[in-house]
Amino acid sequence: MITIESINKHFGDKHVLVDVSLEIFEGETLAIIGRSGSGKTVLMKHIIGLMQPESGRVTVDGTDINRISYTELRRVRRQFGVLFQGGALFDSLSAFENVAFPLRTFTSMDEREIIKEVHICLEMVDLVDVGSKMPAELSGGMKKRVALARAVALKPRYILYDEPTSGLDPETSNTIDELIKGLTDQLNVTSIVITHDMHSVLSIADRAALIYMGRMHWVGSIQELHSSDDQILNDFVKANEYQIGNPKEE
């Protein structure tokens, strides 16, 4: 379980996170939604201690991650798989080696097992044939999928996805959504999915949290999301439906 207790973060004069609190329960999939620049990525970076809040606490399974040694923090981080918004693939390594990297670094698997495991991961994102390519030779969507394969290679307990489906075609987006759902069900992972895509939210999330201008504006289940009369939430959802061309009528 992850708890975020009224954290604040400034960049210069800009108050990017304002008293943000949020709880993420074991085994759930939580969608974090919000407009571009609202602070979603910054919030995600606080969860794994890549950024530190000026006030407030972030705890993972009861441990305040900003009050432990760097060695302990790294141990906490190893329970996480993170898909960064831009993929963050190591550009000096091939797609295959990117996925193999965490396996080589943190397990004692031999080469045969690694090849097998990487193959499984790349198959999952439908990219077995690009293993030998370098990141620069991949399309934006392919990079994202390789990065996703890398994020889940160690079967982490927590997975953070920063916009896993942005820049992907609808069909591939659905595949990724299915994948995220599948991982949650099979491995009982806890997932946090940052997204603009209400379609994804509705198909994979148990709960959603809306960040609005750095504040946690609304948190609730998907059922509550449908019935909410919050103006800002409804505007966000509507804007999205118009984009998808898929009006919400149930």
Binding site: I48, L50, V76, R77, V82, F84, G86, A88
Partner: protein, 256 residues
Amino acid sequence: MLHVLAYRKLIQGPVKALGRYSMLLIHAGSALPDFSTYRKNLFSQMVQIGVESIPIVALAAAFSGAVTTVQTSYQLVSPFLPKSIIGSIVVPSMILELGVVVTGFILAGRVGARIAAELGTMRVTEQIDALEAMGLNSIGYLILPRVLAGILMFPVLYVVACFVGISGGILVGHFFGFVPAGEFLQGAREFFQPFDPIFGLIKSFVFGFTITSISCYKGYFTLGGAEGVGQSTTQAAVSSCVFILVADLILAATLL
């Protein structure tokens, strides 16, 4: 108001930078026992920083040895001076100063810029974040091997530079008729100080550390996108050169 701004620019900035630079080095140092994290990178960096620099270092050293020989002969044409004096000037200046400073400038440009560009790109594309998020010590993984490779390989390059530079001096002196090789070497031997090469080696360790640590610092803390990487790269090369000169003076003043 103005003096507050001046204070910020002139004092606060450098003090902060020095603090962050020291923190980076302390972090890197504390990762030293974790050999398995950086072993692979260490060897590849030793090749990139050391082995791949040999041709350009040798070229520059050969020319500086040759030019020093020609200039010394030109300045010391006198029937009263033995020609061997050319050797006794060229060899110590190569060993004490030229070999290591020429190598330093070349590495500042070649290696410093490369390190800063590499790490800067990794920073702005979140690859460093990705390493950290996996639970890896990014400083131990990226910076330590580069600094170690610099410290280990710079002395090797220095030795190459001296060897090639002195050979260049001998060849040009001999074949252009300034001084026969035998006399050149005799002069070199007469005035040889055993401490000279030791001093040169000490300098080469210090320079290797200076260039790689400054460039790692600039690259690791890159801000912004492509423009930030460009800035870091330039600053890495320029600062490395400046601090080499400063270190050179300090070492000469304290050790000679």
